[in-house]
Assembly symmetry: D2
Homo-oligomer: 477 residues x 4
């Protein structure tokens, strides 16, 4: 896999441990972004900011958490696209405005950001970052409405695309989701305090109760009087990202009303029906393929085995930005177990295939460990189109399925057979959401909303470059 | 689990990428020690040293690896006991001696170190570190023998206890193992170069071929003429650590001639025979219980399920030294999947139980996620005795099985039933080694060699304390 | 002395070594601000930013200078007031605007910043920093004029107070100075490239030729066609800061047309005439009193001696922010030479007296080293009023001369006699500028322009606080 | 100047603020060594160590000083020779020995270190560092004498060359000086506690009283019963380093019974008699030439002027190791004042000339600032021979006076005239010590003791190289 989610957002209202809870929440959401981490807390009308490049565990410590006073907080983890590893882009973004201080955490991509950016600049706005999210901050500040709620509504009326937002102001917290509901966003409760989170796994970690999802087009305002649901001026037209179930969300999260592990296991079962094969064992590419492999094994009756072990001291492959290190990372991360594979016909299950290069290396490694035949099964359809709603896909011509037929892909990765879960199969695995309410654009090319200025989510990012003193240390030469 | 292996050792002879291979080897051995990392390389009669507190990935980078010139290298990862987090103790230790320069990497504990330390001091030796391993360096330097080989033999004749050693001198590399062979040590080959490693998983990573184990009492001298096997003056009396199969070694390593995963799976199968129970599913505590759980499921016919998911951005629980953080670590590391557990009778398999506190928290978490009944199965016998041969066990009265019966333990952890694999069951699972050749002291109290001055492996460690500038930053207050 | 200048600015146009020259320029201007350092360079329409808390020598190295591409650059060193040690406040400030990218470096204080800040916020502007300088960036962005020059004129028409500015845009560099010309600003030339600098000592270091001062109300636009002088819409009314001659500027700089060392020596000569005394020797408080002491010795015929030596490894007293460390700094910085002082009647010359506490410690130390009598001579008048034009003075009631008569001050510091240079004496020492063209507000209370909202140069600085990861390390507990 | 003293030593016995006093003492001795800093303190039989590369102000902070418990401490600042920037070489060295724990701080060079090193190694000693000082630690440990005092005597009987030592053991502190007394060492008293220091300026800083010098061949033992003077077995033959007066010691220190500033001023007076010239002004190269220039002015009646100003934010030229940066340092450190120099005949006084390259640059800079003629006066004789007693001189053929006549040197540096103080003139300036008791080897070639193995003070330093993680950051590429 090498598609990257862009963010995880988290917010706490009304808890004296707000910053610490936010820290734990981001810890649980770390899989959604590993480049930068940040928390802004507030106490009365004071805001406190700790942000830096790096993992949650590296950015925060006892000192910096103690610094983050107050009972409200918003936090953010981020994976960035190439070229914008810019300290100014670390979220939450914050500012003093005519409506008081604001801090925002955003997951998604605004599809009309570039246009809005130019309009705002023309009216005299200064831009500090190169992320589309800054547009939101400006629009709130520019709104003529005096009420915060109305200013947010005005803002949401202007922006298009994908946004799951946590917005902290002086004395309130707002959760908002775009009309399509592309990216997940849930509400939780911890005693008297309220929580906003990208996924429920972060609620579990802090012992909070899962209330419900924020609905498409919903604006949830949380203040000292409790939780208030409002509607944006835009009509909801659900188009949930199915890829959250395929790969992004953690298997223990409940997404769109269903536990991800269950859905993935179902993907595996249907895949076993669609692409059966005789074999000695079913193995997963750990851990992304675990749930689907278990489902495949159950449905096929072929024993589940552990064919590769993980080195626990390595993160996801894509943490390291340069290709050279990434190759090393693949090698270091997973080791086949010869004893298990030797002379066996092996079914290997993984969640998706993007460029195909990693899969090729893994197939090679498994074969080199003595497998007699390798039957690769992918628990999602071929990815043929880029995402414009919050996932960082490679350029279209880097997508192996855009260029090659399934048979050609099989040849490329070196498998004896290859089967992809069908789009229909995938959609029927989810029980809670009807198929048409999913965005399947990366598989089907059916984009639920019109996309202008493709690739312009970054606001002239290459034109102001900020030196990252920490990064230098680790650079290869 | 909270027993800690003390070290991983790695050595390379005759490869122009010696330091880089050593780095990769240590990466693969990181599970054997996470406190400090070090490599000493040599080029002709020059030695180059890079050592620091921290994980392999933190201590080394492109700069420092380029600094490590030459075609020979030894490396070490270490987990230290409380109180000796001393930068001087980071291995490999090295020195200039009358026999040239030496660097040594040691896995194990010398049981007569304290006595030798006092004798050496009395004869005028200066001690820099507080690790027993420094004794070895002094003894080599003090040996009257002119031949290096003989000096090493003289040294091994003096020391007692557990040692798997990689010793680099000017133009040679030595691997040596104590007569009991407590800790593993293997030889590998990569083209024309030779490798020493604690485990075979490190050979796999660098693409080296596994030759064989270093035998108990064997001294393997590697120089430009190749590999030469010698015997120490002490008769081999094999007493291999069975705990390497239970927990320490990676499942993909071949230890004492067998793949760890296979042995662990066999543990699970025998456990299923010894402690059967009716249930809806078998789950592992991931990842330490994975292999045994799979074996249990296979033997019992009860489906294997994933009942907990790991957060991939956390390391093993015991990386964090303070109790407060450890508790947080347990919570952050594994999350139960409610959807899977709800209303189920669940068999939970883990590798071992030390203090019982972690198990208790996990049983609680699984029950809180809706499991109807929880049947805890441990794929090793109760741990009742401390190890003196290279594993850092808690004090005896902290071992739950020293204080409580199995039934009391069951009550303590809150399980509905509890079954431990029997000692006989455990030993019969290993096919390649006969039962009497294993050290089972931590289970049985039968120490294969006499142990003097228990707890004195640290050489007055508390009397010279060195400030660790890096550690300060992360301290909690 | 404990008055602090707030900034040094530097700019380079049209030199391929722009960033390196800027670095050297800031090095030479380091005495004007030690808290933070920054450079923004530009190459075509790309801007590159390196900024951080700390001295020039700490913030920049070969890597970061190489990062700063292009042939134009602006740089800034800064001393900040209490409470605003905020990473967001490090200058140069920069932004993308409707008129392209801008970076500005500002020395001075805007006296109507607070009012403008509220107006701008009300119109939807977002504020990131808490420095008054940010207002300038917003005003340029908001200007309706399409021409850059006109936009700058519009902006200068709005702001009041003290500003010596270096503004870099895409393809041009602007130097501008307020109508009073409070703070210095000079133009230089290095081959085909142009330089802007707070002082000429920075021109000397890089081998540039001193052209002239930027005049009050002048806007100097430098682009590929050369240097163009324009006038702001505000009439020049020179009111140069005399304190630059007393203390701030380096003795080797030419300020307002005269070398500072010469002026200071003249201060000393006039002081000798105004406050003569019989004594064995004249000594300076090194190095701030050196020039005046030499003048006093010359005029009086009393031998100049070295009565105290500096520890070269300590910076100015006020580098360390906390009072506790400052006391240590005084003690560590200067050591009296007993051999020189023993039994002598000593004239001690320093440049100014602010709170009087440092002078008191020094008088004590000189007396403890055996001086028979101590005659303190100050080469400027008593400071009785705060500055609002770019110098960070203590609150008025902390100024010793606000509270005490000269005789009381003499008692307080423990000197045998005390003489201050008279205002008339000071003004007549400067040959190039007529007395009425100097701002003497800190001595006389005659503020040349009306000052609103005193103390509001910081824009609600305490309400968003940003954690400074570097600072933590050095904090005392 | 580019000769480097190798060390400053400091010790405190019997003060509850031992570490803090030691820190302040090292601060005052920083001019004696800027590469590394270290303190070892002791409390009962526990030792605490803080050492690192860098200046005192960088290595120590509130945390690390609090870590250094106990009422006794020794400290060290060091300048190292090329190739041995080795973290293991940072002093104080320390070790556990048969006679308890020891920490030693050494200023000087042992001339028979290389021989002793090989003998010790042959007897089985392990060497960790590459500094000659480690030999002392081994010899103490090896001594057969049970009494500490006798063990130190045994050790001093073996070593030759220059050593001013501070040795801390369990419950005592020892000061010792070689029979020649090459390097200074003084005793002080602060209330009930005793102090050892390289120079008196460090006593001044902490408010301690200067007692006396440690005499050549003296061993001063300080313990709870007070101060005890003993003699080593070697007869004292004083041969004090005159260069301490010329350059190394701080002008406010009392060295060999006289204040350095007074001696230097006397150098200047005699120089004025030996090399008079008509001129408009006398100026110093600040600050090294200040005292002598003042003496020259006094004796000649020609006015003293300030012709160059220092940038206070730069340290001594030689802090930066690489030639490229050194050139920059020269340029950045001192700026001529054109106004003062223009059209003048100028006498320029400096303390010494080593390679001549820096002097050449300075003469050029002064001439470029308009001086009509430049008469260079050096307040010491030509340096023609390397030092083997604790000063790091360049190789002999890099010494300009070894290769060139005074006239040739004058041509090389570009001065109009050049005068060096004569050896006789220099010696007669010191009142307290008779001429024959000075070592003048660097001027005269008369080495007071035989020197074997020249250049071997480093113990095979290039054969074990330790990576310095901090240094990397600042490296140029």
């Amino acid at each position: 896999m090498s598609m990257k989610d862009e963010c995880g957002v988290f917010g706490v209202f009304g808890n004296k441990d707000a910053a610490k809870l936010c820290y734990l929440g981001l810890y649980a959401l770390q899989h959604r972004g590993q480049e930068s981490s940040g928390i802004v807390s507030s106490k009365d009308d004071k805001f406190y900011v700790v942000k830096d490049m790096g993992l949650v565990a590296d950015v925060f410590d006892a000192d910096s958490l103690a610094y983050l006073q107050g009972s409200n907080a918003v936090g953010h983890v981020r994976y960035s696209t190439t070229g914008s590893s810019n300290p100014n882009n670390i979220q939450p973004l914050y500012s003093k405005t005519s409506k008081g201080k604001f801090a925002i955490a955003h997951n998604g991509n605004l599809t009309n950001a570039y246009k809005l950016y130019h309009e705002l600049k023309a009216s005299g706005s200064l831009f500090q970052s190169t992320v589309d999210s800054e547009v939101i901050l400006h629009l709130i500040a520019k709104s003529k409405s005096k009420s915060i709620l109305q200013a947010v509504k005005d803002t949401l009326a202007e922006i298009e695309g994908a946004y799951s937002l946590a917005i902290m102001g002086e004395g309130f917290l707002i959760a908002a989701r775009d009309p399509s509901g592309f990216r997940p966003l849930v509400l939780g409760k911890l005693k008297d305090s309220f929580i906003i989170s990208s996924e429920t796994c972060a609620l579990d970690l802090i012992g909070a109760e899962y209330i419900r999802e924020v609905a498409p087009s919903e604006i949830v305002l949380i203040d000292k009087d409790g939780i208030h649901s409002h509607q944006s001026t835009q009509k909801p037209k659900p188009s949930y990202c199915i890829f959250e179930h395929v790969y992004f969300s953690r298997p223990d999260s409940i997404v769109y009303g269903e536990t991800v592990h269950r859905v993935r296991k179902e993907f595996g079962k249907i895949l076993a029906e669609e692409y059966p094969v005789e074999a000695d064992m079913v193995m997963a590419i750990p851990d992304s393929g675990n749930s689907a492999a278990l489902g495949y094994a159950e449905a096929s009756g072929i024993p589940f085995e552990i064919g590769m072990t993980r080195n626990h001291y390595v993160g996801r492959t894509f943490i390291q930005p340069s290709q050279q290190i990434r190759d090393f990372g693949v090698k270091v991360k997973l080791n086949p177990i010869r004893e298990v594979l030797k002379g066996k016909d092996v079914i290997v299950v993984d969640d998706s295939l993007v460029r195909g290069t990693t899969a090729k290396q893994r197939v090679q490694a498994i074969r080199a460990s003595g497998a007699r035949s390798i039957h690769l099964r992918i628990s999602s359809p071929p990815i043929r189109f880029p995402c414009h709603f919050g996932i960082d896909t490679p350029e279209q011509d880097k997508l192996i399925a855009y260029n090659k037929s399934v048979n050609e892909i099989k040849e490329f990765v070196g498998a004896d057979s290859l089967g992809y879960l069908s789009l229909e199969g995938m959609l029927k695995a989810v029980k809670t959401i009807e198929p048409k309410k999913f965005c399947t654009a990366c598989f089907s090319g059916n984009y639920p909303i019109k996309v202008e200025n493709i690739g312009k989510y970054s606001l002239e990012g290459k034109n102001i470059e900020i030196y990252d003193q920490k990064k230098r240390k680790k650079q290869t030469k």
